[in-house]
């Protein structure tokens, strides 16, 4: 049995035309114990998808099974079995850290003590502040409390909607380390993120854009499906270089990529591009690189 099966899910908003289409026939499966990433920009449909998967929103078409149960028929059972951390902080700001965690444990008919081993690694970091009101916590601490509350009933599937959005690089790294530990405890985790670089930290990812899944694969699988030569180039005049690359007949696409520009080759490779750039007489540095998820995402978007 799969942990999650999503089959041709459709969702649109608005009572009359023009409808806003959030999900246009989304399908994928998540294995038990997998750390599965849903990667896409704002407005791609990530939150609508998570709300459907957690029984908080009805789809207009298609069906979803979570932990072997139907999200429409068995919504009550599903709610007992999943943990959900929404994108916006949604704990009780005027309850203390400890009270929030107790509250969530109680409504799921359990206690902090019964499941302490599961949340220990995360909760122990905020336990020194257990009498502080949740509203008075720093962003990083709020995130840890929210994750503890989503876990306290030992869910079989954990849904995390953009847990790292707006979070700086250091805290993001820490958060992903926590997720890896949780996965080793056998919990299936679905996590959404707009940060392409986080894809590499998942077992498998679905790349989503404008309500459609563009690809579902392991990060390595997505990279190997890129299928074209990718070259990185830099020079002292990056703006000029970009225009040159765009004008090259062998180049399919060229765009800035951090310190370098990336050139996706239509045909030919390093040698051909090298010869082309030499003609302008300006110094440059050129090397072949492995595409990363962001290169793949852009190539899929432009298809």
């Amino acid at each position: 049995m799969k942990a999650v099966t999503v089959n041709n899910i459709k969702k649109r908003y608005g009572a009359k035309k023009p409808f806003v289409s959030a999900l246009e026939g989304v399908s994928f499966e998540v294995e038990k114990g997998e750390l599965f990433g849903i990667i896409g920009p704002d407005g791609a449909g990530k939150t609508s998808l998570f709300r459907i998967l957690t029984t908080l929103l009805l789809a207009d078409g298609g069906n979803v099974m979570v932990d072997g149960l139907d999200v429409v028929k068995n919504y009550k059972d599903i709610r007992e079995r999943v943990g959900y951390m929404p994108g916006r902080f949604s704990l009780y700001q005027d309850l203390t850290v400890r009270e929030n965690l107790e509250f969530f444990a109680t409504i799921f008919n359990t206690s902090i003590e019964a499941n302490y081993d599961l949340v220990k690694d995360i909760y122990s970091q905020i336990e020194p502040f257990k009498d502080r009101k949740a509203g008075k916590l720093s962003g990083g601490m709020k995130q840890k409390l929210a994750l503890s509350c989503a876990l306290i009933h030992r869910p079989s599937v954990l849904f995390l909607d953009e847990p790292t959005t707006g979070v700086d690089a250091v805290s993001r790294k820490e958060f992903w380390e926590m997720l890896k530990k949780l996965r080793s405890q056998g919990i299936t985790i679905l996590v959404s993120t707009p940060y392409m670089d986080e894809a590499g930290l998942c077992d498998r990812v679905a790349l989503i854009q404008a309500g459609k899944i563009m690809s579902v694969d392991t990060p390595e699988g997505i990279v190997s499906a890129f299928g074209k030569k990718l070259l990185a180039v830099k020079s002292d005049s990056m703006l000029h270089l970009l225009n040159e690359l765009k004008a090259c007949p062998d180049v399919e696409d060229a765009y800035p990529f951090g310190e370098y520009h990336h050139a996706v080759m239509k045909q030919g490779g390093q040698k051909e591009l090298n010869n082309y750039l030499l003609r302008s007489g300006k110094a440059f540095e050129l090397k072949e690189v492995t595409p990363d998820i962001e290169d793949c995402f852009m190539a899929l978007m432009k298809n």
């Binding site: 806003v20 896409g40 920009p41 704002d42 407005g43 791609a44 720093s138 962003g139 990083g140 601490m141 959005t165 707006g166 979070v167 700086d168 690089a169 250091v170 805290s171 790294k173 707009p194 392409m196 854009q209 703006l239 765009y255 800035p256 990529f257 951090g258 310190e259 962001e294 995402f297 852009m298 978007m301 432009k302």
Partner: protein, 248 residues
């Protein structure tokens, strides 16, 4: 003092009670420069930006923005700058055209100027057919590009961009940066914060705040050399891991 410098900060400090949010920062930004202002959450970036845009009075230190003093000439500063952020940029329940007219009106632009430039901007953004649509109906990437055009509509000397590309897709993110380059070419100084480290590479110079102080400042190349690493991501992690203060 060089006329080329549009932002000068010397030992700029902001305290809230016993808490020093910004702790004696000093730096200059040149005309037409793209200046990346990085730091972990809670490092003091927002407080520093609020002082530089005339919204918050410093506790001590000196700063001038577009030639105006941050203590005495805050109104003149506000007229000389543009601002956009990820969180707040445009009015969702006004149309594209209404937003432009509203912001331009606030900055005292004339009707003819507004009319001419609105047409130009909509054409440039390929948004002519969206002119009368509500902003809330636009995709995020379009909104952010429109918000940037609105922030520089009155041709400010400096534009402050607070995480302008958060959550934006990778293609639109690059289109947004090409707009930043175009603005800088016309002499507008760009002061930008971001969580995307590849974008730090697109800046002429970058400063990194840690616990209220500027711990590193230089071109991306200089910073990578100084810290002996190959990417801005590693520079950032090396510095930010030293932080002792909790994020907000």
């Amino acid at each position: 003092m060089s006329n080329d410098k549009v932002i000068i900060a010397e030992q700029l400090t902001k305290r809230f009670g016993h808490f020093t949010a910004v702790d004696g920062i000093s730096f200059d930004v040149h005309k037409g420069e793209i200046f990346g202002f990085l730091g972990a959450n809670g490092a003091g970036k927002t407080t520093a930006m609020r002082m530089l845009s005339g919204l918050s009075m410093p506790s001590s230190g000196k700063a001038s923005v577009a030639g105006f003093d941050v203590y005495r000439e805050t109104e003149k500063i506000k007229q000389s700058i543009g601002y956009m952020s990820q969180k707040f940029s445009l009015y969702e329940d006004l149309t594209v055209k209404e937003n432009i007219r509203f912001y331009a009106g606030i900055y005292g632009m004339t009707d003819t100027f507004i009319k001419d430039k609105t047409g130009f901007i909509l054409k440039h953004l390929h948004m002519e057919s969206e002119a009368d649509k509500l902003v809330k109906s636009l995709p995020l990437g379009w909104k952010q590009k429109l918000a940037f055009s609105v922030a520089v509509f009155h041709e400010p000397k400096i534009v402050f961009l607070d995480e302008p590309t958060g959550g934006v897709d990778p293609v639109t993110r690059r289109e947004f940066w090409s707009m930043i380059y175009q603005a800088a070419e016309t002499g507008i100084t760009v002061f930008v914060t971001t969580h995307y480290m590849d974008e730090a590479e697109y800046c002429n110079r970058v400063s990194i705040m840690v616990d209220g102080r500027i711990d590193a400042l230089g071109t991306p190349q200089q910073l990578k050399r100084t810290f002996n690493v190959s990417s801005m991501d590693e520079v950032f992690l090396k510095l930010a891991r030293k932080a002792t203060r909790a994020a907000d």
